[in-house]
Amino acid sequence: MSSRDQNFKNFWRDFSVNKIAVFALFIFLSILFVAIFAPLVSPTDPYDLNSVSIMNSRMPPMSEDFAGNLYVLGTDGAGRDMLSAIFYGLRVSLGVGVLSGVFALIIGSIFGISAAFFRGKYETIIMRIVDIQLSFPSILVALIILAAFGKGVEKTIIALILVQWAYYARTARASALVEINKEYIDSARCLAFSNTRIMFKHILPNCLAPLIVVGTLQTAHAISLEATLSFLGLGLPITEPSLGLLIGNGFEYMYSGDFWISIFPGIALLITVASINLVGDHLRDMFNPRLQ
């Protein structure tokens, strides 16, 4: 058995101690599956104008139209099937959340590890910027960026990256500072490896555990933040209907009692965010040396 298999086995043994986290992981993987294969698993294409009829608008859950199509979660104001709209919405929400998380992880790690590696004025400046940014609540940072530069897909992703990078930078620097004092870094330096090679081939892999913990929790946060911004009308445009926009659409019909239009997308959002948070929370406990 290779050591990678062995590592995975050890990891899974520790991870599966917490049954709730295993269940949450299963739920998250199912959601991911639905999001990736949304066009295949959705009963209808909610954005195909030929199949959507305004005649079917605001039908309650479990109702059928004249053609005999069943709408399990009802339809929205334009007659779209809510279930399909939610599947497509998950795709947008997860896509934006994960994409911004990955970029923020890369940018944050580069700044965090290089700050720990080079020290001096460079480190002071980077960490000062991180401190200043983290002293603002995330929604305010996003609000400033979107209010100043306008809405849109790229701008929302940029805002989410800017909100998150500082968390990764702080985590990466803290764990890199510990690693740098270890002997294998000294020996790598003796071998005259380049700085880039030491930073990214030697230090980075050993900082990954805490970065992954921050990554899961931050991604959950990013998904929720994107939904909030889109609901406020500052995030994604209507052409990219994320869960937040779906909930916002339902907001109009709230007073007429058509609860399903905003409740079901909200439940989908809640389950997604909660399952990621539960997994992240357990990972944090697993990697926390004080609790072992």
Partner: protein, 325 residues
Amino acid sequence: MLEYILKRFGQSFLVLFIMSILVFVGVNLVGDPVEMLINPEADQAEVERVIRELGLDKPVSEQYWYFLTNALEGDLGSSFIYNEPALKLILQRMPATLELALFSLFISLIIAIPLGIYAGYKPNSKASKTIMAGSILGFSMPTFWVGIIFIMFFAVYLGWLPSTGRGEIGSFLGIESSLFTLNGLSHVFLPALNLALFKISSVIRLTRAGTREIILQDYITFARAKGLSEKRIVLVHILKNILIPIVTVIGLEFGSLIAFSTVTETVFAWPGMGKLIIDSIYNLDRPVIVAYLMIIVTFFVFLNLAVDILYTFLDPRVRLKGMNQ
């Protein structure tokens, strides 16, 4: 010490200056406010007159300089929509936001501190595990969605509480607030609970962590050895020691409540600063957007400065580190 404080002051002003450029230039690149303000049938001369009146014909750098010099004299420009000074508009709406944030801080503390102490005191009980699972759920729930559910359930379905607006405003000791009338309280309750939800989760976790640490201290063992009742140990010895870190964090968290109130205010149509900024972004009311962002950034920068300076007095380790830098 003085050098450290002066340095931090300098940094704060640098941050404000950079933010003002970023916000001003950014806001002035987005959209065309003239198109939204003017009658679509207006002729070219009329359009040009409006552009000149608003000062939009000048280059951005000149507009910024004009804005900066006026801002230093306390004039943040006038709203395109309301034709009133932006600062005045924001100050008019500030009390509503502050009262919402304060009330929700109050709600979150009275709910979260007892639950957090219990969860830390008996970490392995069923109830504690439920509390902690609930706090993860509270963390994961999108505030705006919970607000919608509150409105649907308490206002539309049950009809118990009003769903929009601020209600009657009472006056007490010269302070005007809707917290002083019954009707006002009924209006503030749902939005405040909604805003508190996120805070409840984080305060529960904070209190629990603190309790778990304190419970291991010698003075708790000593209190037990003295034969004090468990009730007295929890209410006096644990609660008192836990309040110090909680109060510091809450000082900072109050700022984030104000920032997050933009969401709650939009859902509940609460007439505060948060709703004003969202409306202004829709209407491209540039002076109000810039003024709001600058006011809130200034607020945060100085809140943090105050907390940092306070820490240097309370904790000698911070003071030494600051001097060495």
